[in-house]
Amino acid sequence: MTTEATPSEKYLEVQRSEEFAGLRRKLRNFVFPMTVAFFLWYALYVLLSAYARGFMSAKIVGHINVALLFGLLQFVSTFLIAWYYSRYAAKELDPIADKINADLKEPRS
């Protein structure tokens, strides 16, 4: 027979568990590189606007120039990242999170 764990002990225990560490690793492995990549991509857009005027003003078709195209690509990339993350989360993160959650609610004997 075990004594009932207090809520904070329960959380500490989960936090130390192998399973939770795996979940955290998977989340961070996705979030950190992706954030850095997006930020660099966005910084490239802003930096080019500031320092590569000639390049950004180059016309592609008619009056449409590189700067406009780059700006539109920022929209596309943002949406793709969000969509990719939501797929990744549904496939990789949710199953583990659900399992830990279920264990928290009804501790295995």
């Binding site: 809520p7 904070s8 959380y11 500490l12 989960v14 936090q15 939770f20 979940l23 955290r24 989340l27 930020f39 966005y42 910084a43 857009y45 802003v46 930096l47 606007s49 500031a50 320092y51 005027r53 950004m56 003003s57 078709v61 008619g62 009056h63 449409i64 120039n65 700067a67 406009l68 700006g71 539109l72 929209f75 943002t78 949406f79 969000a82 969509w83 993350y85 939501s86 989360a89 549904a90 949710d94 999170a97 659900d98 830990i100 959650n101 928290l104 609610k105």
Partner: protein
């Protein structure tokens, strides 16, 4: 603080909008009011309406207002975008060419660096101008994550799964909407013309309704059509402004009630009814403060106020949010340090920037006390916010492993959510 800047921006926009709607140009009068009085009257009216919304409707009421306005806004923007594009036979290139020509700026209109990153003969002015562009860019992208009325939206979704779905929808809708506004901006420049826009409002805050009027005249049967479309678009813009101000007031008054009144003054002993009562009172006070400040801020370009709000959000809120999610050691002292440090840095830098004094377009153009060269403080104040959070944390002995464990487990697994 962030809320107040954003509130002012919205209400100044409302004032400019109404004076256009009533056809009041500087120098003429309406119901015995000249343009300036009418603007002030609008600001007070919007402020009063928003207070009623929040006090009576609460979170649910505000949410419904936002749903309705989002629908109206999308429809309005879609119709106008289609009209603009149809006018140019769906040829984006002709639209851009015409916009450049009518803007009065020529080819430079389409190239980056008309406002920021201007290249001049002076090397240091060029450098600062480019830095300003970078600073604005950083603040806009980081600040979004810390805007209070967006943060509180996350309380309204039940689980991470639903939140992701809702974010995906939001990005889709907002992305499309921004593409519309891009077309509308160029459309306004092309069809209304740079001169006509600045004649109505010198900061250019009413370009969109003016475009509506021009489109209506062309496509919906002359002057009547113009007035009708103008009225519709103005009403949509008005609903949007109301929804945003209401959301902001709600965010700030609930934080006053919950965090300041319940936790600080009553030390956690306040009842729920007490809290709601205080939230309503503070909605009144915040609304009143915003009304008064907006009246003084009328001549400012609202885009600048928005930029300031983003800079403050990015410097004060973002460090605290990120640290608390990812840093085990982060504590109360660190949170206070990063919020106050970032806030003070952003506000002080703006106060000593060319936006407030020492330039022709400044708030006080006749005096000069500026020493900070940029009009966007983000590039300096965001790192200061992060640095302060770090200093505050490591210099305080307080650590709370239990609390962090709870926060981390709950945020990653969704445990405890309904």
């Amino acid at each position: 603080m962030v809320s107040i800047f954003y509130l002012i921006a919205q209400m100044v926009g409302a004032g400019a909008l109404v004076s256009l709607l009533l056809g009041i140009k500087p120098g003429t009068t309406f119901l015995g009011m000249d343009a300036d009085t009418a603007k002030v009257a609008t600001i007070i009216l919007v402020g009063a309406l928003m207070i009623v919304y929040v006090v009576v409707g609460g979170m649910k009421g505000t949410t419904y207002v936002q749903i309705v306005k989002a629908f109206l806004l999308m429809t309005g923007a879609l119709v106008m975008t289609l009209l603009v594009l149809a006018h140019y036979k769906f040829n984006l290139s002709t639209l851009l060419g015409d916009a450049a020509q009518q803007s009065g700026k020529g080819e430079a209109f389409l190239q980056p660096g008309l406002r920021y990153g201007v290249e001049t003969a002076s090397a240091s002015a060029t450098f600062y101008s480019k830095m300003d562009l970078l600073s604005l860019g950083i603040a806009l992208v980081l600040g979004t994550a810390g805007l209070p009325h967006i943060l509180t939206r996350f309380y309204t979704v039940p689980t991470a799964r639903v939140a992701r779905k809702s974010v995906l929808w939001a990005i889709g809708i907002i992305g499309v909407f921004y593409l519309f506004t891009l077309a509308l901006g160029f459309g306004a420049a092309a069809l209304v013309g740079g001169k006509a826009i600045t004649a109505q409002d010198k900061a250019g805050n009413t370009a969109a309704p003016q475009l509506a009027q021009a489109l209506g005249i062309d496509y919906l049967g002359g002057d009547t059509g113009g007035s009708v479309l103008l009225a519709i678009i103005a009403a949509v813009a008005f609903a949007t402004i109301l929804a945003v101000v209401a959301g902001l007031t709600l965010a700030s008054s609930s934080s006053v009630a919950h965090d300041f009144y319940a936790s600080v003054i009553k030390r956690g002993q306040a009842g729920e009814r007490d809290e709601v009562r205080v939230a309503r009172i503070s909605a009144f006070v915040i609304g009143a403060v915003a009304i008064v400040l907006s009246i003084f801020a009328q001549s400012l370009n609202v885009a600048f106020l928005v930029a300031l709000a983003f800079a403050v959000a990015a410097s004060a809120n973002l460090p605290a949010i990120l640290y608390s999610l990812f840093w085990r050691r982060f504590n109360t002292a660190g949170a206070l340090w990063s919020i106050y440090g970032g806030l003070i840095a952003a506000v002080v830098l703006v106060f000593f920037s060319p936006v407030v004094s020492g330039s022709a377009t400044a708030m006080f153009p006749d005096s000069d006390w500026h020493w900070f060269p940029l009009s966007n403080p983000g590039i300096i104040s965001i790192p200061i916010g992060f640095l302060c959070g770090w200093i505050g944390t490591v210099t305080s002995k307080e650590t709370d492993a239990d609390k962090y464990a709870e926060l981390e487990v709950r945020s990653l697994t969704g445990h405890g959510a309904h």
